[in-house]
C-alpha cells in the first residue's frame, strides 16, 4: 500500500512542528527519517500514527484518506523507543492484545502469536508465564515489534527503537529489524537521530531540519550528493571550512575519510583572512597544519587546522605532525555559496 503525505503541516508549541511536508513512502521499503532533535521527525511519525491531528494537508494510505481517521482505524502500528510493553501482562497477552480486540478466535490468536514470535526469534514455550521485563532490552524490542507486526499493519512506525540499547545490541538489532521488515515485506517508517543507522537500514532516507525536508533519496544519494549545506554537514564525519575559491568566499564541506595528505614544506602563505583552495587535476587542495595522530581502530585520526579552522583527517598512514597539503577529490568536495563575515568564521 502506498503511503502519501501531501503538504502536511503541524505547529506544535513554538518550534517543534512540521512544515509543509510532501512525501511518499516506497512500498515494502524502509524509509528512515533522520535529523537532529527538534527537527520534527517524531512529530511527523506521530501524525502518521494518528496520535495528534495535523493543522493542514492530507495523508493517504493507498486510496484511503486517513487525515482525520483515529489512530486505531489506520492500521499503522507503532514500535516505541521505550518498548511500551505492558509490565502487568505476560508476553503472550502483550502480543495478543490487538488480536483480542479484533474478536478473533482463541486458536487463531494462539497460532498468530506463536508464529510472529517465532519469526522475531523469541522462544515461545514460556510466553504465557513470563513478563516482558524478564527479557533483555533487545528481546523486549523484538517483542514490541512482534506486537506491532501481528496485526499485519499497512505501515510499521518505529520511533528510535534502538536508542535505549547499548552499542553492541544496537548494531545487531539493526540487521535483525531490517531482515524482519524485509521478510514481512512491510512498508516501514523509521525515525532516528543516528545517520549511520539511517544509512545502513533504509531503502530511502529523508533528512529533516526545522520541520522541513532538507533532502530525500537513496542512502548513497544523500550521502554522496548532498543538496544543501545542512545535508552535507549532517552526514558522515563532516567539517565545514570557510575558504576562498578563485578569490570568492565559499563554504566547503569535507568528510574526514576523503582527505589525502601530502608532505609539503612550504608553509601556508597568508594572503587573506581565509585560506585559499586551489584546483588541479580533479583535486582541491590547501595547506593545513596536522597535529598528533589519534588511533581509532581502522585508521588514524588527525586534528588539522587551517588558519584557525579545525577539522579531522582520517588516514591509514602514520604522519608526523607538520604542514601538509590536504587534498580532496572534486566529486567529494561539497561547495556552498556563502556570504560569511567575521562572525560566521567563529562559528565553524
Amino acid at each position: 500500500m502506498e503511503i502519501c503525505l501531501d503538504q502536511v503541516s503541524k505547529q506544535y508549541g513554538s518550534s517543534r512542528g512540521i512544515d509543509n511536508i510532501t512525501l511518499s513512502l516506497p512500498q515494502g521499503g524502509l524509509t528512515a527519517i533522520v535529523g537532529p532533535s527538534g527537527c520534527g521527525k517524531t512529530t511527523l511519525l506521530r501524525a502518521l500514527a494518528g496520535f495528534h491531528d495535523i493543522d493542514s494537508g492530507t495523508m493517504r494510505f493507498g486510496d484511503r484518506d486517513v487525515t482525520r481517521a483515529p489512530s486505531r482505524d489506520r492500521g499503522a502500528t507503532m514500535v516505541f523507543q521505550n518498548y511500551a510493553l505492558w509490565p502487568h501482562m505476560s508476553v503472550f497477552d502483550n502480543v495478543a492484545y490487538g488480536l483480542k480486540l479484533r474478536k478473533m478466535s482463541r486458536t487463531m490468536i494462539e497460532q498468530k502469536v506463536h508464529d510472529v514470535l517465532t519469526r522475531v526469534e523469541i522462544p515461545t514455550h514460556d510466553i504465557k508465564t513470563r513478563k516482558p521485563q524478564q527479557y533483555s532490552g533487545g528481546q523486549q524490542q523484538r517483542i514490541a515489534l512482534a506486537r506491532a507486526l501481528v496485526l499485519e499493519p499497512n505501515l510499521l512506525l518505529m520511533d528510535e527503537p534502538l536508542s535505549n540499547l547499548d552499542a553492541k545490541v544496537r548494531s545487531r538489532l539493526r540487521v535483525e529489524i531490517r531482515a524482519i521488515q524485509q521478510s514481512f515485506g512491510i512498508t516501514a517508517l523509521y525515525v532516528t537521530h543516528d545517520q549511520e543507522e539511517a544509512l545502513s537500514m533504509a531503502d530511502f532516507v529523508v533528512i529533516m531540519k526545522d520541520g522541513r525536508i532538507e533532502q530525500a533519496g537513496k542512502p548513497q544519494e544523500v550521502y554522496y550528493k548532498p543538496q544543501t549545506l545542512f545535508a552535507a554537514q549532517f552526514m558522515g564525519e563532516s567539517h565545514t571550512l570557510n575558504v576562498l575559491r578563485d578569490g570568492k568566499p565559499m563554504q566547503l564541506v569535507l568528510r574526514s575519510e576523503n582527505i589525502r595528505l601530502q608532505p609539503d614544506q612550504i608553509a601556508a602563505q597568508l594572503f587573506s583572512e581565509y585560506p585559499a583552495v586551489a584546483y588541479k587535476d580533479g583535486w582541491y587542495s590547501f595547506h593545513a597544519e596536522i597535529g598528533a595522530p589519534l588511533f581509532i581502530g581502522s585508521t588514524y585520526r588527525y586534528m588539522a587546522a587551517v588558519q584557525g579552522q579545525t577539522f579531522f583527517v582520517d588516514a591509514e598512514e602514520l604522519y608526523p605532525p607538520g604542514t601538509y597539503l590536504a587534498a580532496v577529490p572534486a566529486e567529494r568536495a561539497y561547495w556552498f555559496e556563502a556570504v560569511f563575515s567575521q562572525t560566521s568564521k567563529d562559528n565553524t
Binding site: A49, G50, F51, S71, R72, A76, T77, M78, F80, Q81, N82, A84, L85, W86, P87, H88, Y97, G98, L101, R102, R147, A148, L151
Partner: protein
Amino acid sequence: MSAGVELNRPSSPSGGFGGNIGRLAVRLVIYAFSIFVILGPLSSLILWSFAEKWFWPNTLPQEWGLQYWSRVLEGKMAEALTVSFGIALLVTVLCIVLCVPLAYMIARYRIPAKPVLLLIFLLPQAFPQLPVFTNAMELMYRWDLVGTLTGVTLIHLVGALVFSVWTMVSVFQSISVSLEEAAVNLGASRIRTFFTVTLPIAVPGIIASSLLVFLYSLDEFTGSLLIGSPFITTMPVYMYNSAMGYEMQTASVTGLLLMIPGIILLLLMQRFMKSEYMAAFGRG
C-alpha cells in the same frame, strides 16, 4: 568482570576477618540505638498497660495484671474500635472512588489552573488544623452534621483527599504515556485502555495510597473530637478521654491497640510502595 571477583576472593578471608567484626559491632550499636529510640517510649506504654497499681517513686508497677486489657476489650472500647474501623474503611473507599478519576485527569490532561487546583487540596493541610476544623464545625452545625457519622467521615475526607490526590497523581504520572498510546494504537478505546492498561499498572500505587488514607483516618484526632463528640467516639478520642481521666492504663492499652493496624498496614504497604510514590508527600 566475574573473573576479577574470583581472583579477589582467596585473599579476602585473612584480611577481611577483622573488618567484619568491626562492621558487625558498628551495626549492633546502630540496631541497639534504634531499638532504644523506638521502643524506649513504647516500653512505658507496655508497662502501664499491665500495671494495676503503680505509684511514685516505684520504678516498676507494684501490682501487675490483665484487668485493664480485659476491661478495655469488652466495654465501650470495642464500640470505639468498630466505629474507627468503619469510618476508616468508608473514607478509604470514598477516596478511591473520588481520587482515581480525578488524579488521572490531573496527571494526564492539560487542565487550566492545575497548580491552583492542587493547591486547593493542599490548603487545609497548610493551615493549623484547629482553626480549619473549628470553621468546619460551624458549617457542620448549620447542616446538622455534628455528632453524626457523616460529619466525621466528611472531616476525615478533608485531610485524606490530600494524601490521596497527591499520591495518586504521582502514581499516574509515573506510568509512561506511551504504554497507553500503544494500546490506543493497537485498537483500544480510551476507556478500555484505562481499564486494561493504566489501572492495573496503577493498582500497587493505589493500594499504597489507600493504606495511608486508612491509617490517617484511623489515627485522626482533632477533627473527630470536634465534630464527633459526644455521640461518635473513635479510638483516638477514646484514648484521649481515658488519659484525661488519668486512667493511664486504659490509655496505654488503647494506644497499643491503635498501633497494631498501623504496623500491619505499613508492613503491607512496603510490599506495594515504590519510592517515587512517596515523592508527593508533604507529611505522613
